[in-house]
Amino acid sequence: MIRIASLDLHRDGQPILQDVTARIPPTGLTAIIGPNGAGKSTLLHCIAGLLVPHAGKVMIGDDDIATLKPQDRAHRVALLTQSPAIVPRLSVRDLVAFGRWPHHRGRPKQQDHDQVDEALALFDLNDLEHRKLDSLSGGQRQRAFVAMAYAQSTPWMLLDEPLAALDPRYARDIMERLHNLSRPGPDSRSVVIVLHDLGMAARYADWIVSLKDGQLVHSAPREQAMTTENLSALFDTGLAVQTVGGKSIVIPV
């Protein structure tokens, strides 16, 4: 369980997060949603311990994430940033292997190679493992970065808008994989993801954390948080939640 308590963060005098208190359940897929500038990425970076709030704290289990050393933190949460740098001459396998860095610190063992193989297989990257990152399509590259976060073998995977600039096919592919990963099982992970695409959130999320102007609006199961009234109020525009073929969709009205 992640417990966020009275989080305050400001930048240049402007409040970015104000008294945010929420919880994120230890299983399933949680989506952080909200309008532009709501503080979604900032909240995710606070949860990852990479931004230290001016007040409040983030507890992962019994630990305050801000008090953990970088190496210990890297064993608890894996964060995939919004636009990670594309290192020239880096192959897909090399990138995924970076996920094992917290475990071997530059001296990989057989177990690390096995984990990389598993991540490559899980994200269907075996055929691409020797390709250079800069030769891949946006969707393939994003899959490789998500595989890197998976290879980090942390209980929590945090992803900051991994669907940005992906066409629907690739976006859906990534979400399907993350959704499957978050189902209970031996290799299950708790996934927290910042999403702009409300359709994807409605389709795949189990839990919703919604923010507006740096303040928490909802921290609740998807069915409760993603209603026509709630979303319309959150985004200040008409949005309707409907069910088609047993699946929730969000449409502008």
């Binding site: 995939l80 990670p84 860095w101 980090q152």
Partner: protein, 317 residues
């Protein structure tokens, strides 16, 4: 069949060895011992300066996340020229020329390193991700120092101005063997440390946030790397004078010829390419063409062209 990066590095080392050997023995005449002694000093200076600048540039480009930058951009060259000009003004042309070489070399190295570390620390107080700030501050400092140097040079008489001119062009002919004996072990230690932290630099290349997420103490790593860079560049500049674009040539050619992102190979490769450019260039100049011209001028010209090429071929992001 592609050659593994490690083998390419060995190949590069072999070529460097051959070039150095050629430089030493080509056209050797009596008195052999005396001439060979001079040549050994010169080739050692060329190797040391080229390797320092090459290795430092690769590391700088990684922490700056920019393949076009060189440490010279943060004002090293300008500070070196300012330092020389100040010394000439304070001591006069004759006083400057008669300065003992070793203390002068040590003071120059220490001043350059201290100034660079102070600049880095000052700028990085806001976070080591602020490389744009660092670079811009360095550029502004460089302009300020060049302005100040220009003003100071106007009040020099022509003979003293000639002394400054002589001191601020990269030359390898007047290197003191004693200076080399101090610079060489320092270089070896810094290079060994740089190669040791190579795997951390591989991760740092992913960007500050991503490497922090992978458990790398990025800010501490960047400060350590910048200190190592300062030492390498300070020693090279104090030894031979500033060569702004040599690093860019060495880093770009090493990356293209080695074909890996791994710093444990890339750093020694850039060091080897930097050294090779200087040794081979000086060999062609002196032995084959019989010129006594300053090699640095040609290196700057080619490096400048490469810089323009890289800027122009860059795709907008």
């Amino acid at each position: 069949m592609s050659v593994a990066p490690r083998h390419r590095l060995w190949l590069l080392g072999a070529v460097l060895l051959i070039a150095s050997g050629l430089f030493l023995v080509w056209g050797l005449r009596a008195p052999y011992g005396f001439i060979l002694g001079l040549r050994v000093t010169k080739v050692a200076a060329l190797l040391l300066v080229g390797a320092s600048v090459g290795a430092a540039t690769v590391m700088f480009q990684t922490v700056a996340h920019n393949r076009l930058l060189t440490p010279g951009i943060v004002g090293f060259d300008a500070l070196f020229v300012l330092l020389q000009t100040t010394l000439v003004i304070m001591l006069g042309g004759v006083g400057y020329v008669s300065l003992p070489q070793i203390p002068k070399f040590l003071i120059e190295s220490l001043t350059l390193t201290a100034a660079a570390v102070a600049l880095f620390s000052l700028v990085l107080r806001r976070g080591a991700d602020d490389m744009t700030r660092l670079v811009l501050t360095g550029v502004i400092f460089g302009i300020l120092m060049r302005g100040l140097t220009g003003f100071m040079q106007r009040i020099l008489d022509p003979s003293e101005f000639a002394v400054v001119q002589q001191a601020t062009y990269a030359t390898f002919g007047a290197v003191d063997p004693l200076q080399l004996s101090i610079a060489a072990p320092l270089f070896a230690i810094v290079l060994a440390l740089s190669i040791r932290i190579g795997p951390s630099l591989d991760v740092a290349a992913l960007g500050r946030t991503q490497s922090l997420s992978l458990g790398v103490d990025h800010d501490r790593l960047v400060l350590l790397v910048l200190t190592l860079i300062s030492l390498l560049i300070a020693v090279a500049t104090a030894l031979a004078g500033p060569i702004t674009f040599l690093g860019l040539l060495a880093a770009s050619l090493a990356a293209a010829s080695i074909g890996t992102y791994r710093h444990r190979i890339l750093i020694p490769a850039a060091a080897a390419v930097g050294a090779l450019i200087l040794v081979f260039g000086q060999f062609v100049f002196e032995r084959l063409l019989g010129f006594q011209s300053t090699l640095a001028v040609i290196v700057e010209f080619l490096g400048g062209l490469l810089f323009l090429f890289l800027v122009l071929k860059r795709r907008p992001t």
